[in-house]
């Protein structure tokens, strides 16, 4: 193994199809028109010296090191800013160039510390490399004059010197080492799109400045690390590199946070991670990352991680550490006894959207074939199950239609019920880049999200009341149909015309107009009409949506309404368009694909289909139950009723993440054996009888499937600290229950998945190693996968328009509960926070806050930062207020990252009509001032503390 060094071509790839041939150093090279001479040279294998150029950002031409000579042209142009032209004859090395470059380097080094031996960038410093490349041997100017290097100069304080900024928890900024190449500033602008950095001052005073000469932590910086990656010196350096040193080998793997699925190089020293660096060949992220993926992996070594299996008879008892074998036999005996006493269907399990495809597949296999029932579900139940239902009804597949590259060809984007800048940051950066090039943005969201307020962008924001998505989407369709904006040719060719006519007649009804629905939705009818016109007529239109769409009583209906809009405007089946669900967790798509839903076997085939069941029965050598099993909310209901007694939960914290916490507590308390398989004693574990320690994504092999249907490898870079990878734990648990599953490596599990799942038929580890990744369907028809779906026709045949009637949720505001609560995420934290709360990310978000409009706050006598009581029909909690006009009057908002807040004590049992996906996004609440924690919070904390006790290990007597 060695360190993977990607080639830096100096400037980005040109997209032109016209090719140009030129000669560089006597060698003919053909490249796309628009390519820089620097890049053309690199493609021919010649590295022209450079400092300010890197291929993640556009050419800048400031360092004057990459000069070349071109026959017939005067002077020495910079090769990064000079495009190729047919017949050019370029020389990259001559006496004149050598002299010029050496002179430039001499000037740079005259204002740079010479502490190379003790510098953190030693071994990874482009300045050092270039000094070597140009043959710099001495610096004639000395170090006595004005400089940025020394704190004191000539005995006096040096005003040009600035101390290190160590405010960011993950990297440092050392101004004395800065060469003002602007790579960090440009990465922040062009790659990340935050514009947090600038060059302050002019001439010799120029320096990198976060915000208005603020600290990194105090500025708008979102800590994505693009600047650190871009820095050619030790000016911006990961603290982990400063502490550990340079890595010696690296392994390409996939991030275990959100559904974007960024590819990373895990840069290692032995089994210690030195840093995570986004991989330029990663097709989802193209070399970019966010604060979570790049930096927030400290949880893998956190002191609270549990490394030994534990058991207990009752949840009131302290945990007892035992051997793996004892834990497996204990769990198996409990589950078998439950099945004997209460029946085969009294147990079930939950697969994890954080685990690999292979692990998820094994858990559902264990449940279907080992437990003998179909009581398997996954956390997608509470996030994107409506996507599965809605898109399979209309298009015929339960997945998004595009790859992320598609956004580069989009002209109009609708973002509804999603805040990618917080929850899918790397996609947001790619989207914002396209928007800065001129694409138009429509945001449909109750809050003025970061997407609405992003720098250098102008969004058309439709702030709707929570719970009225269907009314808004149908009103958009009303405008398109009644103003004659239908793409009739597309609809006639690709969709069922009579279903379209029925739907068109419905949406055209006057009660569906923007004007008629405004009273419900709160959306300005003029703005809504404008949005519809832009989407229907503005070129390639794409819709991206998130849980603000799905987590409603009408979640599935909204997904259908979105699909209808895509079809009626012909925005399906080519790059730049499509319907794109932004998946919450890293492997939500995969866990759904792998048959985690109780009614479906892998590949979305209903369990009642005899032919499909036959295949699985032949492979698994058992008879399968043809009836659908319980979904997560049904499991809770059945537990309280008494017919469901045992649950195996892999990598999910249902107590914190599922709605109406009191109800979940009641359900878990009613069970006789709860097995939690996780990294930490999470909230669910407070009600568990068996704890099986889990392994992190760094400790196992497997695959994740991201929101683009892209299957990517997860590669083991260290031995599991708990001893076993999660797939091995599931196999051993099955074995203890008498169900054998025999695999030596996760690749063998993938081979079985491929053999049983038509859309995965062409997937193998060998292919993933060869191609990097593939998007399903990957089979004989599409051996290298399918970036864009429904080209030329829909998977189901004809696209199906379905009437979407708006029905108000049963959760209503009234005098007791006059405000609507909606929930969401913040950039630095992830889901229930089990991982990110155990990293330095807490500096950005150490508690959940309640966003409330100044008007609503004043009416209640609430000031910013005050403790408030948040109460719904389901329960109450306390947290601190954050007064902001990002939310409209009547709407309040919070995140659910912290268990001591327990936002889900407030949320209700209402759920999507089709899938039981909980209605997290609409809860009627009241807010009032408070002095401190609620009775619930106090009781909860006491129970959690009691439940987390671990008995001291008693040494056996000699």
């Amino acid at each position: 193994m060695s360190l993977i060094k990607e080639i830096d071509f100096g400037t980005p790839r040109a997209k032109s199809e016209a090719m140009v041939t030129l000669t560089i150093d006597g060698q003919a090279i053909t490249v796309p028109e628009g390519t820089s001479i620097m890049r053309a040279a690199m493609e021919a294998g010649t590295q022209i010296p450079k400092l300010c150029a890197t291929d993640m950002v556009d050419a800048f031409g400031s360092c004057r090191l990459c000069l070349v000579e071109i026959e017939g042209r005067a002077g020495t142009p910079a090769s990064c800013t000079t495009p190729v032209a047919p017949g050019l004859v370029v020389h990259t090395q001559s006496e004149r160039l050598k002299k010029l470059r050496k002179g430039v380097m001499e000037l740079y080094i005259s204002d740079h510390p010479l502490d190379c031996l003790t510098c953190a960038a030693n071994g990874d410093c482009e300045l050092q490399d270039m000094a070597g490349a140009v043959g710099l041997r001495d610096v004639r100017y000395g170090y006595e004059g004005d400089n940025h290097v020394f704190a004191r100069s000539g005995g006096a304080v040096n005003p040009a010197w600035m101390p290190k900024d160590e405010s960011n928890p993950y990297f440092t900024y050392d101004p004395s080492k800065c060469i003002v190449c602007s790579r960090c500033v440009r990465a922040c602008e062009e790659v990340q799109g935050t514009f947090a950095l600038t060059i302050a001052g002019r001439g010799f005073d120029s320096r990198v400045s976060p915000g208005m000469s603020e600290s990194f932590l105090g500025s708008e910086c979102v800590s994505c690390g693009a600047c650190v990656q871009a820095c050619p010196t030790a000016t911006l350096t990961e603290k982990s590199v400063i502490e550990i040193g340079q890595p010696e080998h690296s392994v390409v793997t996939t991030c275990a946070y959100c559904g974007v699925g960024c590819a990373f190089k895990a840069e290692m020293r032995g089994e210690e991670v030195v840093r995570m660096v986004p991989y330029k060949d990663g097709k989802a992220n193209r070399g970019h990352s966010c604060v979570k993926g790049r930096f927030a992996w400290g949880y893998t070594n956190h002191k609270e991680r549990i490394l030994n299996p534990m058991i207990r008879e009752r949840i009131e008892d302290p945990w007892r550490e035992v051997s793996w074998d004892e834990a497996f036999s204990f769990a198996a005996a409990k589950f078998k006894a439950i099945q004997q006493k209460y029946g085969r269907d009294a147990v079930g399990g939950i697969t994890s959207s954080r685990c690999t495809n292979e692990e998820t597949y094994l858990v559902q296999k264990l449940i279907r074939a080992g437990f003998g029932n179909n009581n398997v579900d996954t956390c997608a139940r509470v996030c994107h199950s409506p996507t599965g239902y809605g898109l399979s009804q209309t298009f015929g597949t339960s997945a998004g239609t595009q790859d992320f590259d598609s956004v580069e060809e989009t002209d109009v984007v609708i973002v509804i019920g999603a805040n990618p800048a917080s929850a899918h940051p790397v996609f947001a950066s790619r989207l914002k880049k396209r928007l800065r090039q001129g694409a138009k943005l429509i945001v449909i969201d109750p809050r003025r999200t970061e997407m609405v307020e992003a720098p250098h962008l102008k969004a058309l924001h439709l702030p709707l009341m929570p719970g009225t998505n269907v009314a808004v989407m149908t009103a958009l369709a009303h405008v398109i149909v009644t103003e004659g904006l239908v793409n009739e040719a597309f609809v006639r060719e690709r969709c069922d015309w009579s279903e379209f006519e029925e739907w068109a007649a419905f949406v055209a009804q006057p009660n569906n107009s923007p004007e008629a629905t405004a009273i419900l939705t709160g959306v300005d009818p003029k703005a809504l009409r404008e949005a519809a016109r832009i989407y229907a007529t503005g070129g390639n239109g794409a819709i991206y949506y998130g849980l603000g769409v799905t987590e409603h009583s009408q979640g599935s209906t909204t997904v259908i309404a979105i699909a209808n809009l895509g079809m009626v405007t012909g925005n399906i089946g080519r790059p730049g368009v499509g319907v794109n669900p932004l998946r919450g967790q890293n492997n939500v798509q995969g866990s759904c694909d792998m048959g985690s839903f109780p009614h479906e076997l892998p590949g979305y085939r209903h369990i009642s289909t005899d032919a499909v069941r036959d295949q699985f029965e032949a492979m698994w050598k058992v008879q399968l139950n043809p009836e659908p099993g319980l979904r997560i909310p049904n499991m809770f209901d059945a537990a309280i009723e008494g017919s469901f007694k045992g649950l195996y939960v892999q990598g999910e914290d249902i107590l914190q993440s599922d709605p109406n916490t009191s109800h979940v507590v009641a359900a878990l308390s009613a069970m006789e054996c709860v097995i939690v398989h996780d990294l930490f004693l999470n909230e669910t574990a407070n009600y568990a009888h068996v704890f099986l320690p889990g392994s992190t994504f760094l400790e196992k092999d497997g695959t994740f499937t991201n929101a683009e249907r892209r299957i990517q490898r997860v590669r083991k870079v260290m031995t599991p600290k708990n001893g076993l990878a999660d797939w091995e734990v599931t196999i051993a648990l099955g074995k203890a229950m008498g169900f054998e599953m025999q695999y030596n490596h996760p690749s063998e599990i993938m081979d079985e998945i491929a053999a049983l799942t038509p859309t995965f038929a062409g997937v193998s580890y060998a292919k993933l190693d060869e191609l990097g990744s593939v998007q399903w369907p990957c089979n004989e028809k599409a051996p290298e996968g399918t970036p864009v779906m429904h080209i030329g026709g829909f998977v189901r045949g004809k696209g199906k328009f379905i009437v979407t009637e708006y029905l108000a949720t049963d959760e209503r505001t009234g005098p007791r509960f006059p405000l609507l609560l909606t929930t969401g995420r913040i950039l630095s934290q992830y889901n229930v926070g089990a991982q990110t709360r155990r990293t330095e990310n807490v500096v950005w978000h150490s508690e959940d806050r309640l966003e409330i409009h100044p008007h609503d706050a004043e009416q209640r006598g609430v000031r910013d930062g005050d403790w408030i009581r948040l109460k719904s029909r389901a329960g109450e909690t306390t947290l601190r207020a954050l007064i902001t006009d990002r939310v409209a009057p009547g709407v309040v908002y919070t995140t659910f990252h912290h268990p001591d807040t327990q936002a889900n004590v407030i949320t209700t049992d209402y759920s999507d009509w089709a899938t039981n996906c909980p209605e997290y996004k609409v809860t009627a609440v009241q807010v009032s001032p408070s002095n401190g924690p609620s009775d619930w919070q106090k009781a909860y904390e006491a129970q959690a503390k009691h439940s987390r006790r671990i008995a001291a290990v008693v040494e056996a007597a000699e």
Binding site: P598, P628, L630, A638, E641, V803, E805, D909, W913, N916
Partner: protein, 70 residues
């Protein structure tokens, strides 16, 4: 399982199909419940139907009758 919750869920399904008219809505509702409800949930709602089916919307009642016969 608690009939109230199941009645609410069944009626929610019914409301989605309502605008398709009786002849399409009833099989639509029946199929949805057959495909997505675990047998114990179906058994409980059938028991409620047999006990008079209070609270069930008309199309839902027809759909459950149809499903029970199938």
């Amino acid at each position: 399982m608690s009939p109230d919750r199941l009645i609410h869920m069944a009626n929610q399904i019914g409301k989605f199909f309502q605008n398709q008219g009786h002849d399409r809505a009833v099989p639509g509702i029946a199929e949805h419940i057959k495909k997505f409800w675990d047998p114990r949930m179906r058994k409980a709602i059938f028991a409620h139907l047999d006990a008079g089916g209070t609270g069930l919307d008309p199309y839902v009642r027809d759909a459950l009758e149809k499903l029970k016969r199938a």
